[in-house]
Symmetry: C2
Subunit: 690 residues, 2 copies
């Protein structure tokens, strides 16, 4: 517990702390004294080095690492199934071939005759198996009778970085970009290597390094001048099983190609992209593909030429297909120049209205990236109906790890419980059990590819994420992307143990803080499913009317009598009709709509009685007071951990929790005052409202 924040925070969940239990340490040392790599694949090298590094730190002695056949003495064998090595094949025979990126871990014997096998379905699987094995060591597990078979549920497990080449990060709250500085790619790649290693350890296999809002300089990332630099990042990623993606500008043929059009049906445009793809793959043979934000928030796109999103995406897909690349096309498309006076246009409808009619029209190497909610990463939204709306299109669930609307890494807001609700959300697209998890993975509709993308929360901050506890969101994202069936409790327990490695009571306290934090944040910010009570541009609140008279389609319509957006079929925007039965009926009816989403779907009087038995206005008051109290309680709780966690980390978290407690009061008072002033209805409990 003597690391500085830099050391402890920087290592994140890969802190390899000396094993305290002497017997266990001896067991690890003995059984892992020799690491054998079955073949000379580079990813096995990475795995072997990582395991050796972990073992040396945890046991105090460095294991031997070599290639070749396993010895008769104790050893760890890392290999790839199907290579013919007998111990590997035996393990696979017993454990079952886990399929792409999966692995089998088997142990037999003990002491000097111990044999530990990590057998990947692919070399990448072997690397993931090694990191899994290291997690076992970090948590002090016995190595007897290991019988593990794991495979990722999602084929694509992706990070999206909103990094700009000037070094800024859009919606970044943890310093500057680790990829770019002063309109160049950074020269020292060591930090990127450390990042790749962190990502590999949680199974991430795809990273888009630049912002989906592709500005002038970033448009040139696919030009010859930049490709060698991009390729060096890709090479480094490759060592960790990660494919590099680039966000591209749809107008690139004009901006950097000298063409006078970017029309996706123009032969010259198609030829230009094909040539670019070829150039890229010459430098980066395993280039992942393009991430595209088109016809969205002033980004160029196919609409300019009277073409649709399928035309645009398929054109790029055709350029990439010969090389095995993918197009990831974002569905965050809506009218961002809406007149606030217009109550007919509904931003929530937009993604579905745009993309549902195109279902089945996209090439096989196109994947539509869909935000979890229909609006924009609010603390509470329904799940996007687009997930249940398409059955012949590859889909990728987009989650936001960076806390744009959820406290900007100043507030503690652990999002794994929210994401779990999203994964488990039953669209009823094919009857009960048609969860988002099964749709995004491609499982429900037997799609060739699918998965999850997360908008990164890291920067060049010494602890990666600003708020040290925000590392839990990064870790949790990766674990859920690997397997959405993991529970929030499991993931949290894992992360706390790996990160703090401290006594059980401390672990319990931190895990409890994390697991409560999302609902606490919700309880003092925007109530009952309305969102965007934040300041324009910076998206930090409170500002109840911050987006009420704006062009972004984000309104609550609070007046003296009531609040909420009528999205019902009969009197509202009809958004509820985008859901399958019984969801559409549940949301559409005031009687069955869940309280927490009430104001998202309905405009109701403040005196409307919730299922909780409270009126809307009293709920607003009560939850703001309770929320602020709970935020203060988080601070108190953390203070009980003084001396039990790393001091630098303690202090940094303390400062942020102190800010959070104070800012939660500001949220409480502004929201309560706003509604008290508007409604004239006093708090039933007579508490102070201004």
């Amino acid at each position: 517990m003597n690391q500085t924040l830099t050391q402890a925070g920087y290592a994140a969940w890969l802190r390899y702390v000396r094993v305290e239990d002497e017997c266990r340490r001896e067991e690890y040392r003995t059984r892992c004294a020799e690491i054998v790599l079955a073949t000379d694949l580079p990813l096995l090298q990475t795995a072997g080095e990582e395991l050796a590094r972990a073992l040396e730190a945890m046991t105090g002695s460095a294991p031997r690492v070599r290639e070749g056949d396993p010895p008769s003495g104790a050893h760890v064998l890392i290999g790839v199934i199907g290579s013919g090595q007998s111990e590997i094949e035996a393990a696979a025979g017993e454990g079952g071939n886990p399929g792409e990126d999966g692995f089998v871990i088997r142990s037999s014997g003990s002491g000097q005759s111990s044999c530990l096998v990590i057998a990947g379905a692919t070399a990448r699987g072997a690397l993931y198996g090694t990191f899994h094995f290291i997690r076992l060591l970090q948590t002090g597990a016995s190595l007897d009778h290991l019988r593990i078979t794991e495979a990722p549920v999602n084929r694509l497990r992706m990070m999206n970085h909103w990094d700009n080449m000037d070094g800024s990060i859009e919606r970044g709250y943890a310093g500057r970009s680790i990829f770019f500085r002063n309109n160049r790619i950074v020269e020292d790649l060591s930090r990127i290597r450390d990042y790749a290693r962190l990502m590999a350890s949680i199974g991430i296999n795809a990273v888009a390094i630049n912002n989906v809002n592709v500005h002038e300089e970033e448009t040139k990332l696919i030009a010859d001048a930049y490709l060698p630099d991009v390729a060096s990042i890709a090479a480094l990623f490759r060592e960790y099983g990660i494919r590099l993606y680039l966000s591209i500008s749809f107008a690139a043929p004009m901006a950097i190609g000298g063409l006078d059009t970017a029309d996706p049906l123009s032969p010259s445009v198609r030829a230009w992209w094909a040539e670019r793809a070829k150039a890229i793959y010459r430098e980066i043979p395993d280039f992942g593909g393009f991430l595209v934000k088109a016809d969205s928030e002033f980004r160029p796109g196919p609409f300019t030429y009277g073409r649709n999103h399928a035309d645009g995406a398929n054109m790029l897909a055709a350029a990439l297909a010969p090389h095995g690349g993918q197009v990831i096309w974002r569905c965050f498309v809506y009218n961002c120049q809406q007149d606030w006076r217009d109550r007919k246009t509904d931003r929530a409808r937009a993604a579905y209205d745009h993309f549902k009619p195109l279902d089945g029209k996209f090439a096989d190497n196109v994947i539509l990236q869909i935000k979890n909610g229909p609006i924009d990463f609010q603390v509470r939204e329904p799940v996007s109906p687009l997930f249940g709306g398409m059955h012949a299109t590859n889909q990728l669930l987009e989650l936001q790890i960076t806390q744009e609307y959820t406290g900007q890494q100043k507030h503690l807001c652990y999002l794994v419980p929210q994401w779990k609700e999203v994964f488990e959300f039953d669209t009823h697209a094919e009857g009960e059990g048609s969860t988002v998890a099964r749709i995004a993975s491609g499982f429900l509709y037997h799609r060739p590819v699918g998965g999850v993308a997360g908008v990164s929360n890291i920067g060049d901050d010494e602890a990666w994420t600003g708020h040290p506890l925000a590392q839990a969101n990064l870790y949790g994202f990766g674990r859920l992307a690997w397997n959405p069936l993991l529970t929030a409790g499991q993931i949290t327990q894992e992360w706390v143990q790996l990160t703090f490695g401290c006594d059980a009571e401390t672990q319990r306290i931190i895990a409890d803080m994390l697991l409560r934090s999302w609902r606490i944040y919700e309880s003092y910010t925007a109530p009952l499913g309305v969102g965007f009570m934040v300041n324009p541009h910076n998206h930090y609140g409170p500002n109840v009317d911050g987006y009420e008279y704006d062009k972004w389609g984000t309104y609550h319509y609070a007046d003296h009598y009531g609040i909420g957006v009528d999205r019902t079929l009969e009197t509202g925007t009809g958004y509820t009709g985008q859901y399958h039965s019984p969801l559409r009926e549940i949301y559409n009816s005031l009687e069955t709509c869940p309280d927490e989403l009430l104001l998202f779907f309905h405009h109701v009087p403040y005196t409307h009685e919730l299922k909780s038995g409270k009126t809307v206005i009293q709920h607003i008051y009560d939850s703001r007071f309770e929320g602020a109290d709970m935020a203060a309680d988080l601070l108190d709780t953390w203070q009980s951990l003084r001396g039990k966690v790393d001091e630098a980390c303690y202090t940094r978290v303390l400062e942020r929790l102190a800010h959070q407690a104070e800012h939660a009061k500001e949220w409480r008072d502004v929201i309560n005052t706003y509604f008290y002033r508007k409604t004239g209805i006093p708090d039933a409990k007579g508490r102070q409202i201004y």
Copy 2:
């Protein structure tokens, strides 16, 4: 009328257009064929050159300019009273010595025997007299029997530039700084010369070139490294009778002096400033002095050391006094970290509360610069009670020419009518007639110095002020600083004629647009004296709650029942008590408080009946609808001038008026919707509210 915007806009009111009337042109040519400068003073050179330039452009022939004795033939003689030249002394004998900066203009004879005398009380007076004479030529006046004696009412007529050394201008809406670029003083001073000429033509005699918020680099402007560059601007100003001032950081002794304190009573600090003053005057013998924003909005000041504003100002004054310099000390001091929940603290009280107790404590070369209103340059505020509060302190009225809260030079808002109300405001400090004009000039209390400072609205825009019609504010400011008794009508008529020089009907239309524009802007923006219904930071609206839950002390307290700030003696903040009788009673009473300031002084129900007979809520609705209609009418009116004014200017104004008309609708709808939603009271006329 064929100039481009660049030519016409850049020349501003110094457009020297060929005289169309042939007889008049011949008269000017004949009578001004020779310009004689009575002495070799540099300012007379400037005057002679300017007059020659004007005459050549307006008559087509260049007059001769020379020094010495006047000839027997027709001539214009420019000189300084008291130099012994007989024609000059004769003119002064007849016209009376006008005193500092004043002048006499006399004409006699005609044709070849014409004698025109411009006799300044000082060389600067002679320059002002020359510009006055040029105005006569520009307006086609006859030169017969000129009998003019003029002197400025205000000794100090100052421009404040909020320019930063990076080239940005705080609250600037007309491009970048003409003084600074890339943290250097600009190399090419020609634009500064043109600016100095413009300023001299309206009588400005003092210019502070850098922002009162003095940042790191700007703190060094008084350091040796920058002084030579500053001196070259000062030298150029000198040719136009302008003294250069610098805004300084009170913490300069620490920031650049290597001291560990800036305590105004510390001998080392006093010595440091004295040494700096000496260094400055070595480079700039006529340096004006320091402009200081201290202990205001996070600026350093004497409070840090337990000293008061008099301690701080007098310390600087002592350093400057030996050299004839002045300290201009701003009174814009208030708590900008107020809790919006706190209704007792009242920002409006702050300047008076801070400075009234210090009356009589300031050195003779200290001048307190007081904003016209107690808050901050809103479209409607009462006049600051501090003007009537001090009788033994030099005062300088601060007006804002740049349209921070009044449309940012996108909206037409001609401020001369507002300023006239300020000048004519009767404080009753010494009974009736104790106007702000008489106090600021120093007249009422026989102060050695006083005057007016205006926050500049110019930048490197080709037409100086962005909105071409905003030049009228700059011109009007100078004219009022010269003589606050000039009427808005006179000044407007002058400016329109000088700038557009067009037919009487066009002049009438433009003047009418200008004179209506302030009340039009008021009518669709914040109602009845509440302010700050704008977006934070950029101060552009509408945003009714933009500053309601903020720390800046700017609230309207609108709830379901009523709106306004109770500043009465009995139940409010007691601010009304800062005024003399009968103002305090007038403002304090709901019965006598003027409608337009009602919500500044009182919190009233929306159903309160105004003197106009309307309720507050109906007034809000009506004036928003009328205001938006009038803004639309400004656009229509301007369109009637197509072909009658310079085409480029026409187009630029047209674009801005079109934006204004549209934005006025936004103001109308946001404000009306806000109050309709909050009150539930419908518009009596049933118009569309959202």
